[in-house]
């Protein structure tokens, strides 16, 4: 059992998804909900056990079918990937819990699809093989296509069509990039690729560069980096909010792949190709932040606002990836966890607020007052402070850390003014949204708003996500130590390669 632990975050969601499709659970709503929530909790616990093991014993390498690297496919669990796996499974647990209040009945197969999505995301985080990364991308994408359509209307079909076509083109580009890289390097194991890139000569260098930059296009599409971000606001705001909250992790898969590929394969040791994507990443990240800010200021409803906040967080993370230092990466890891939890919380809040405001829903205009102003208001305040990055919550710690990581004059000249202005704009946008929704009411209530209250399952899910920000502040010490450890491991080229290619011994 314990030597197969690395495989459990992939195996458990798969078994859960299949089990939930089986006849005994497929027909009864209550038993299906309970099974789904319990199974996602078990997956989360298994990921936490894996995290503790990786922290104690170092990188875990799992050779599938016992074919050792570089010939077989290996799963690599290091501190960064297990942290992200824990985050994914936690989000999966929260979303299944939240949807159990009724959202899962708006379409069919919600619960199995969530588990298949978690399977794909966990696989993408854990795999050490480039082609296997493609396969897991497809697994998570096909689950996300169906989840996006879940309980949808006409507007939803259009957003889904755009999203699916864009991602199919992305997959084609991904395969072309992998074909070029395999043709030049003769291997698809990421650790082995990293070793062979340095040995390239002549024309092969340029071919590898084309392959690497095509990969950048794919990851930029998945991560919603400018100019490939246009699908995100529409997709996220037309999906059901609980699905959008789950999707908060999916852009991070793109960012994670960039971290892996451009620090491990095309990093310090890559000879002529080292840091080849850095300038591309840096400038497009800055432009992404600027565009996301405009989106935040122009958003007309809370879900679009949150979708634009996701874009800003992607821009910030990619800027940190482009800096390529241990400190920047550790700040990125802390900020990644923080931004995922906070944006997911905001999506759920947008849903709850929208339900209590009748036809006005979550649009930022005066409307009927919400029926539970204290509860929702306090949650919105906490999530808002965290996402703006004001003291004392986790957003502030993340912001100070990432400003410190870009202290080098080369970066701070551009990044500091842009990022601080962006924070100001986010503050304006979020404050305006909050004050309009909670304080500006229509004088005459023309329609009788049905009094809906927050379901206990929804409340529990919301509290888990919203408490993320205060908890990340209280436990900032151990968390930042963990992030620094993970970043050190990410940048420790020789040790990582040695461990992966020797099968973890």
């Amino acid at each position: 059992m314990i030597q197969n632990l690395t495989f459990l975050p992939i195996l458990l969601p798969m078994l859960a998804g299949v089990l939930l499709l089986m006849p005994p659970l497929g027909s009864k709503t209550t038993s299906r909900r309970i099974t789904s929530v319990v199974l996602s909790a078990i997956t989360f616990l298994a990921s936490v056990v894996l995290l503790l093991k990786v922290q104690a014993d170092g990188i875990q390498v799992y050779a599938i079918g016992d074919w050792s690297a570089p010939f077989g496919i290996v799963l690599v669990a290091d501190q960064l990937s297990t942290l992200l796996v824990c985050l994914t499974t936690l989000l999966g647990f929260v979303c299944t819990l939240y949807a159990s209040a009724g959202d899962d009945e708006k379409g069919s197969f919600f619960h199995p699809l969530v588990h298949f999505l978690i399977l794909g995301v966990n696989g993408a985080f854990l795999t050490g093989d480039a082609f296997n990364l493609f396969v897991f991308f497809e697994v998570l994408l096909i689950a996300s296509y169906s989840l996006l359509m879940h309980g949808g209307d006409k507007k939803n079909t259009r957003a889904a069509l755009h999203y699916v076509i864009l991602n199919l083109v992305g997959s084609a580009v991904f395969l072309i990039a992998l074909g070029i890289l395999y043709g030049v390097l003769g291997t698809l194991n990421m650790a082995d690729m990293a070793q062979k890139v340095a040995l390239l000569q002549g024309d092969d260098v340029y071919l590898a560069k084309i392959g690497g930059l095509l990969l950048l296009v794919v990851f930029a599409l998945k991560g919603a980096l400018l100019p490939l971000h246009l699908w995100l606001p529409n997709t996220y705001s037309s999906a059901m909010p609980v699905v959008a909250a789950l999707f908060a992790i999916m852009t991070k898969v793109g960012v994670y792949s960039m971290m892996r590929v451009y620090t491990l394969i095309f990093g310090d040791e890559a000879g002529e190709l080292s840091h080849m994507a850095q300038s591309w990443l840096w400038w497009s990240a800055l432009a992404t932040i600027a565009l996301g800010v405009m989106g935040v200021l122009a958003s007309k409803d809370l879900r679009k606002l949150t979708a634009n906040l996701v874009i800003i967080s992607v821009g910030t993370l990619v800027a940190l990836v482009a800096v390529q230092s241990v400190e920047a990466s550790s700040a990125a890891i802390y900020y990644l966890v923080h931004s995922t939890l906070v944006t997911a919380a905001l999506f759920l809040l947008a849903d709850l607020i929208g339900r209590q405001r009748g036809n006005v829903a979550d649009s930022i205009t005066a409307g009927p007052p919400v029926s539970q102003p204290r509860l929702l208001g306090v949650c919105f305040l906490i999530a808002g402070i965290a996402v703006i990055g004001m003291p004392p919550l986790s957003g502030f710690i993340g912001k100070v850390w990432l400003l410190k990581a870009t202290l080098n004059a080369e970066y701070s000249m551009v990044f500091w003014p842009l990022y601080l202005l962006a924070s100001l704009a986010i503050m304006v946008g979020v404050t305006k949204a909050g004050s309009t929704i909670f304080w500006h009411h229509q004088d005459k209530v023309t329609e009788s708003v049905e009094q809906t209250r927050v379901h206990p399952a929804q409340l529990a899910a919301l509290i888990i996500l919203v408490s993320g920000a205060p908890l990340m502040t209280i436990f900032a010490g151990p968390l930042s130590e963990y992030a620094i450890g993970a970043a050190t491991q990410l940048h420790d080229f020789n040790n990582t390669i040695k461990i992966i290619l020797s099968g973890g011994k």
Partner: protein
Amino acid sequence: MELLYASCVGLLVSCGVFLILRARTFTVVLGLTMLSYAVNLFLFSSGRLSLNQAAVLGYSSEYADPLPQALVLTAIVIGFAMTAFVVILAIRGRSDLGSDHVDGELPDKNKKVKV
């Protein structure tokens, strides 16, 4: 052989890209299919093109690289499933939106753009 092979892939990609940029879902689906054919051929050639070589290790001193064949097989299966999905989605889009335009409605030049 290399020239012929490369021109085939190139032609398929350019036709695919042209069709994807059309405004109707049917041509877009055709374009995606062509693009995935081109990708499969390209992946196959990443193990270098060769004639009369054993496909299995150990039967001859010269052998073809077996890995790209496995990759192509995976890519075909995934591409097939994705194409099936996008066909169904396009049909649903046609019935939901009342038009097979990719944006769901024909662009009207006289109408002001509503955001």
